[in-house]
């Protein structure tokens, strides 16, 4: 059904100029103190330099940009949203995303074996995959259940530290300690979640932020147990199911008749995190089709309606929180074994914010989106060195823009989890 083409909007040039002028004026006010002046360190203390050229540029850019926005949108309201279309769920973007996902998966599986993959790239890939797994884990809490958790890094930290302590003190291998790390993180999730999950969204966010900070400060100061600011080092690396990645007899290389190369362990680590991340993903896809996953999404949509249908909101939220925490714990354990060394510096609020940014920008609930956002996060500072310092600035700004422009994320689409065709065929139906 073709809609009537809308008549080209007549743009009131004078009004547009006035509006752009106002925006430029505001920009001037914003720019003068912090852009126009710069504090510089001099021998006798702090001095001041002027950068009025930058102010002029900023004001001009805002003026031009606002005009452009007005002409492009044809409307004078910042943040007008695209109209809703009546679509079957999952229709439009499904096929494209599936292809992208398949290609991504194939590439991810093959990457370390490709000719260009040296130490640098495999390492980079491993880092990307850690954030992908963290994003997928947080996605369960934020994307599916709609609980804004700003302290996710606490579970990451618990996983890392519990694994490190078990490995260092009790000589437990990575594979044995991994489930323990996850269980401890899940346990912490239940402990922290139980008193606070009935709070409203905003309050829950702040409280989880507080928890994250409390955990970090404890890790920083409990010197005897956690090594304080020095952290824990000497964390053993994983073995290939018993075979150490060492030179010489009995090592991985010798057993498989290969020349020793440090790449072997790196590639192994890459595949370990790949498998862990894929398990997280498959779990999410599966649980959405089950009652508990569906309850998470329903809770996100309307908690009051859920209560009226007999769903206990607290227990349901707790399950999402704990399971999300568990995957964070797994990722933490991996992080510890990959680095060989951990310290509280890796577990700041900034990390939580980064993981949240990955989930939000990817489209809350979208698995593929998380991958793309994680790629941006890790690769941007690598491939655009000049832009590295702008990374967080861009991410912060992007979060604001996404909320205004496309609150459901760039790639969010929702696949329904069940279809009528999944039911019994017509012959079986009762009258």
């Amino acid at each position: 059904m073709a809609a009537h083409p809308e008549p080209a909007p007549r743009i009131d040039v004078v009004a547009a100029l006035k509006e752009a002028g106002l925006a430029a004026l505001v920009a001037l006010g914003l720019a003068i103190p912090l852009v126009g002046f710069q504090t510089v360190e001099r021998i006798d203390g702090l001095g001041i330099d002027t950068r009025f050229g930058w102010v002029a540029v900023a004001v001009a850019a805002v003026f031009a940009g606002r005009l452009l926005l007005i002409f492009v949108q044809g409307s004078r309201h910042w943040g007008s949203r695209p109209k809703r279309r009546f679509v079957r769920l999952g229709e439009n973007t499904k096929s494209h995303l599936r292809i992208v996902g398949m290609i991504g998966l194939a590439f991810g599986l093959a990457m370390p074996l490709l000719p260009f993959a040296d130490r640098y790239y495999v390492d980079l890939g491993t880092t990307v995959l850690i954030y992908v797994m963290l994003g997928w884990g947080l996605n369960i809490v934020v994307g599916l259940a709609g609980l804004l958790d700003l302290g996710y890094v606490a579970f990451y930290a618990i996983g890392a530290y519990s694994f490190a302590l078990f490995a260092i003190h009790f000589d437990v291998s990575f594979w044995a300690a991994l489930p323990v790390a996850g269980i401890l993180a899940a346990f912490l999730g239940v402990l922290l979640g139980f008193p606070v999950l009935r709070l409203r969204g905003d309050y829950l966010a702040i409280v989880t932020l507080g928890f994250g900070e409390i955990i970090r400060i404890i890790l920083l100061n409990w010197y005897d147990f956690t090594g304080g600011p020095n952290g824990l080092s000497g964390i053993p690396r994983p073995s290939f199911f018993g075979l150490e990645f060492s030179r010489g007899e009995g090592g991985f290389a010798a057993t498989f008749g290969l020349d020793y190369s440090p790449m072997h362990r790196l590639i192994f680590l890459y595949y370990v995190i790949l498998v862990l991340a894929l398990i997280t993903n498959l779990f999410t896809l599966r649980i959405r089709r089950l009652p508990v996953g569906r309850a998470w999404e329903a809770l996100r949509e309307d908690e009051i309606a859920c209560r009226a249908l007999g769903i206990n909101p607290t227990i349901t939220k707790l399950s999402a929180f704990a399971i999300g925490a568990m995957f964070g714990g797994f990722a933490g354990a991996f992080f510890a074994t990959r680095q060989g060394f951990i310290s509280p510096e890796s577990f700041t609020f900034l990390e939580s914010a980064l993981i949240l940014a990955v989930v939000v920008l990817g489209g809350m609930g979208s698995q593929t989106g998380v991958v793309i956002a994680a790629l941006f996060l890790v690769l941007l500072p690598e491939f655009a060195r000049e832009l590295a310092q702008f990374r967080m600035l861009l991410f912060g700004g992007a979060m604001v823009l996404i909320m205004i422009w496309r609150p459901r994320g760039l790639l969010a689409h929702r696949e329904p989890t069940v279809r009528l065709s999944d039911g019994p065929p017509a012959a079986e139906q009762s009258a």
């Binding site: 809703r84 009546f86 679509v87 079957r88 769920l89 999952g90 599966r286 649980i287 089709r289 089950l290 009652p291 508990v292 996953g293 569906r294 309850a295 999404e297 329903a298 949509e301 309307d302 009051i304 309606a305 859920c306 209560r307 009226a308 249908l309 007999g310 769903i311 206990n312 909101p313 929702r414 329904p416 989890t417 069940v418 279809r419 009528l420 999944d422 039911g423 019994p424 139906q429 009762s430």
Partner: protein, 282 residues
Amino acid sequence: MTDPLLRVEHLTMRFGGLVAVDDLEFEAAPGEITAIIGPNGAGKTTVFNCLTGFYPPTVGRLTLSNPRKGRFLLEQMDGDRIAREAGVARTFQNIRLFSRMSVLENLMVAQHTELMRASVFSIAGLLGLPSFTRAERQAIELSRYWLHRMRLEDRAEWEAGNLPYGAQRRLEIARAMCTKPALLCLDEPAAGLNPRESAELNEILLDIRRDHGVGILLIEHDMSVVMGISDHIVVLDYGRKIADGAPEAIRNDPAVIRAYLGTDEEEELPEEVAQDLPRGMQ
């Protein structure tokens, strides 16, 4: 003598200094349609909220006798327990669907409790055990039945928020019925419906009463619905019950008429209205 499905005794709800419901008493018989009517602000939705566990009543005893599950004191239970254990389902004045989930998914969420039981908190589902698959197919079948009944079958995969208004109302009722309740509480189900849709609603509710033996408690302003299908009407004004009886009696009750017209007790009724009243009541 069978227990009433719902017995409300001395129900009082106070918000600070405001008395929203004042010592209300009524009964709803099983398999009957009971309507609660009254001018705006009379406290009708507050009564619902007390019955369904959203507000704990200040005073009162709310006894639900579920023929299959036994007797429950609703004033002591949380909202989700009332729905899950006692078997009370409700719809809302401002429709509360899961807008971004599909029509079918909305109905599947309603069957959460049974599916969780069948899947042992979803674990059997994770493992793909046949007991869960069977339960899920049964749930889909029940959903299909209600979709068919509400003429939504061909829109099962639509995003619920995209349905037209009347369809959303029907979906909300279907969703409530999928919880297999003993008592169905409908908060202004006809609000915003045109006469044809209201007539269809009447049919749906009468069918529900006939086929499923469910008791229906109904808040409504639309008199074509109230008078058309109710077996029993309770009238509230300023939180107090001012009338209780069969539709015919209520229709002619002067206290009810006064409440709706807003005249004082002592004032004379307008000529046009007084003409219609039986002698002795003027």
